[in-house]
Symmetry: C2
Subunit: 405 residues, 2 copies
């Protein structure tokens, strides 16, 4: 019996736990008797067409466990989205190296890559098992309760807003925090989990699932500021006007687009700065501060959900088990089975590939600027254990002497 | 014997551990037999002139311990810097309430406030013990080995750059991270502690202690990018040209100044965005991303140095002990006594007030864009225990088949 040859790669934006999935694949594959070699492609599909492979069979289990704990993509990643010609090159390389199983860890663009490669192999009658392993901080893969990487990024956002709220309470003013998420507002909505006391921020949350209107925004901020003497705001980078034009894109001097035709929304502070300027100019509030969470929210080392780590590891392991037992290609999906427990399924690639999930209506409050309890119930277990908590002094006012009230 | 009446307040920018100092004062003061009441002023000196006091004698020790673990200023803060007239109002309120001991937790502006109030009381022959308790993420107080708040902010910056470096290695390009610190580069320099492997970033560090030259900056970035195929850069918000003009201020449309006459450098992403645009335009590098760490670096909940927590608590406790035993006003200072151990001193207020420490030359590499081992030795113990570590896959390249090298 000739031994199988595994290839694993990582695509798209890194997450805090994508290496858990990588290590899940490698350790589970090395455990299979029919597996001879486990290769990793450096920098995703680009590494495949360049034959830029490393032999993961030679890596120690001990170092693999340490790499699993390390954020970002240990094999490197890519933003390339293969078309038919690109996939043909992939196919030729896989054939030349005798690869029998291809695992690609990534988001919906990556799942589409796996679909194309799978179809290419089938059309050429080349026996190749193709499995997509979910990963995205945006939580926008269909067919999944949630996606690995999202819980840890959500935890960062919740902790960031919990802290920003405390800072804003000490030095009152308006604070705008811009969060990643082009089409899906899940990560921005996670800011709501940073709230504890009734008057805590974020007081307003703007999601890409709702049309953003600058005048309404200013009215919301004004009302909140008048009520609390301060205002903490969570804004998705993907907010857009009624025509679908991103607010951020309206401001950018040069529209940078990636290979998928997407406008570059992250990596600059333009949206936060514009919104702050509008608030200063139109509402006359002096202390207005804006932060763009940028790459910190997906790359910060030392803010991870243990639930996310565990599930990211398991989707990697399950991918290998499905590859050898399910008899078909597919995309591994997380299903919620209890509160809180999960199980894993293998979905057809066509059910996931290239599709985008957005926040369900039941998760968004009628106001359009808050989340519902259903969302809090959904997200809380994903954030994991040991979430920091904020405490306050209780009010014990002292009577005034010089100016008694 | 009439019982003493304590007043404690927090000024300036919040930190992750400023409530440790507050709780150190309160618990130690409540332990003293001669103390009757412990008041807190809400929002610093502004709360004093408004007689906005809370009675901390009524707070539970249990809740105080939980508040101590919570970042930001639990009493609220202010940016007010009292002049003689303002201090006179403070004095009148302290007199009216029979305050005998005044503790103010803050940076060099706050220490100057304590100095003025102390002199005002002495001139009026009013018996008032005034103690300044150090706090600043900028680490720019003279007479201190370091200041409470700095180690936790430094830990955030080190962890942020460790993660940004991993992200940048996965998707290579140029990354610019802008760090707080108007005059002192300590916090920006802390980014160097995020490095582990020889080719890790930050590859370039720009401090306010050195003149920033845009052409030299671009040459540095170009050389690094050519060497490593990527470049991670740490930049202080306080970088300035040879005339002392801040690079950030050159860009800001409206120069917002606080009551101390300082230009507002934080709270927008302008500096990062300008530097990124320059790199794109002049060096023709496509993937250039900038983040401004903003308020996250001082307010993030869940990233704290245990060493910082301990010392912040102790400076509060020591302040009370000095107040009752030293027989003079002053500013509590941290002295390094071993590697690593500290002791505390009471410095004269005039030795600290209004002065600014910057990074010592021995901490800055000759290149001007890196730190020295002396700085690494200085900073490492302050970051505390449990610092996350990054691991890599070892290179085990697979021979190419289609295009053998």
């Amino acid at each position: 019996m000739s031994l199988c040859k595994i290839l694993v790669a990582q695509g798209g934006g890194p997450t805090a736990v994508i290496n858990q999935s990588l290590v899940g694949v490698v350790l589970e594959a090395r455990r299979q008797h029919q597996v001879g070699l486990v290769y990793g492609a450096r920098h995703g599909v680009r590494g495949i067409i360049n034959e830029d492979f490393v032999d993961l069979t030679q890596e120690t289990s001990h170092n693999l466990e340490l790499v699993a704990q390390t954020p970002s993509s240990a094999l490197g990643s890519t933003r390339d989205k293969p078309d038919a010609a690109y996939c043909h090159k992939i196919f030729k390389v896989l054939q030349a190296h005798g690869i029998t199983h291809f695992f690609y860890i990534g988001g919906n663009d990556s799942s589409d890559t796996v679909r194309i490669v799978s179809e290419e192999a089938a059309a050429a009658s080349y026996p190749l098992r193709c499995i997509h392993i979910p990963k995205t901080i945006d939580n926008d893969l269909v067919g999944n309760d949630h996606t690995p990487g999202f819980p840890s990024a959500a935890r960062f956002v919740a902790q960031a807003f919990a802290g920003a709220n405390l800072d804003n309470a000490a030095l009152p003013g308006v604070y705008v925090g811009v969060v990643m998420g082009r089409h899906a507002g899940f990560l921005t909505a996670a800011s709501a989990l940073g709230k504890k006391f009734p008057d805590d921020g974020p007081h307003l949350i703007y999601l890409p699932e709702r049309v953003f209107d600058l005048q309404q925004f200013l009215a919301d901020v004004k009302a909140t500021y008048e009520r609390f003497g301060r205002c903490v705001i969570a804004v998705s980078e993907g907010i857009h006007d009624a025509s679908g034009q991103p607010i951020a894109a309206q401001l950018a001097r040069d529209l940078e687009r990636d290979d998928h035709g997407n406008v570059q929304l992250s990596g600059n502070g333009a949206l936060a700065d514009l919104l702050c300027e509008e608030i200063k100019d139109k509402l006359g509030i002096k202390r207005v501060r804006g932060d763009t969470f940028g790459y910190l929210q997906r790359s910060f080392i030392g803010c991870v959900s243990d639930v996310d780590q565990r599930e990211a590891r398991e989707v990697g392991e399950k991918a290998v088990q499905f590859a050898f037992n399910a008899g078909r290609d597919g995309s591994v999906a997380i299903k919620r089975s209890g509160y809180y427990s999960v199980d894993y399924e293998l979905l057809p690639l066509t059910a996931v590939a290239g599709k985008t999930r957005v926040m369900e209506d039941e998760f968004i409050a009628a106001s359009g600027t808050d989340v519902t309890d259903a969302f809090r119930l959904y997200l809380r277990p994903l954030l994991g254990s040991g979430l920091p908590d904020a405490f306050r002094l209780r009010p014990n006012p002292v009577a005034k002497v010089l100016n008694p009230e």
